[in-house]
Symmetry: C2
Subunit: 220 residues, 2 copies
Amino acid sequence: MQAFIFDLDGTLIDTVYAHVFAWQRALAEAGMPIDAWRIHRRIGMSGGLFTRAAARELGTEILPEQAEAIRLRHSVLFREFRPNRRPLPGAVELLKHLRAMRVPHGIATSGNRPDIDASLAALQVPPETVVVDRGSVARAKPEPDLFFACQERLGVKRDDCYVVGDAVWDLLAARRAGMLSVGLLSGGYGDDELSRAGAYRVYRDAAELHRSLDELGVVP
Amino acid sequence: MQAFIFDLDGTLIDTVYAHVFAWQRALAEAGMPIDAWRIHRRIGMSGGLFTRAAARELGTEILPEQAEAIRLRHSVLFREFRPNRRPLPGAVELLKHLRAMRVPHGIATSGNRPDIDASLAALQVPPETVVVDRGSVARAKPEPDLFFACQERLGVKRDDCYVVGDAVWDLLAARRAGMLSVGLLSGGYGDDELSRAGAYRVYRDAAELHRSLDELGVVP
């Protein structure tokens, strides 16, 4: 028996580039101009961690209330840039298939409710699906807390979990949790970046993962 | 003696993510929803090639006038998303240094005038600098025409040219031109993607390239 723990942004829903763009604008407005590609490679961490890392990179100090103001501005810009959420290819079908096959699965994201609600609706995730968000744990990725919380709520063993994510933070957190992981290119990382971060397999997107379930020892 | 031929977007100026976002929106409005990461990996081709590739991926036909309409819509959205152009770290200083050292160098881009004028102004490129744009050649990257045109105008030999770019299209076109190439991570590709596409060296950005000129056999 296997279980799946999915990341959300860039893994199931096409939001990474809108996040990059919204963070870049919010940080620039706060006097912290940062290259888009450096932001891209940090998406998936918690917003608080991310803002502090950005400030450190620029050699500036940032107060908690400034970080919070930037985080809120990012949320506003993100909704402006991406009014409708678009599921990535195969995501809706894969989740539906796992439900039909009764394969335990959940979603563990560094995003917050209510920000993620529109994404869950677009993915047609029913209310009984286990969803662990940033607010449910003390520390976000790359700490393993989100994955442990999800695994516990699924009632499965750590050894039985595959983490599925698009960012090295997912894969790093999976290693720290003692779980296997699968990388997806749909968040814009390169194949080798994900393999080197510990992904057991790398697929283009949820659709290719779906077609490859037998490679993971899961009966499709 | 060595000469440098630079790509523009993602190499000298921080515009790749705005291009991704503008293309995604323009294509979606035209009934062609495409994942952002697939667009990202196609930036640097000519707009015409890109639009046809996108249509092929979706299994639809696209008429030349439709492709042109999407291209124009992309231009409008791009200017809306990124009103001011931001040079990437070290780009202005590197170009200034090459001018001072009288190292032959030029810019060869799949972008068009007047779209690129604001980028050239932000980079403080003087009028005498060789700039070859999409309109100057019959075929854009990954064909080598842009690099040949730039090399001829610089009056240097092919063997003496380093192409500097952020996309696999730059590196592929460089190989086809028989030129060495250097990859920069500042456009959001991964290190291995650029190495495997033939980059002799990969640096984070123009600033790191500047500090590493001696690794390329160029006296700094």
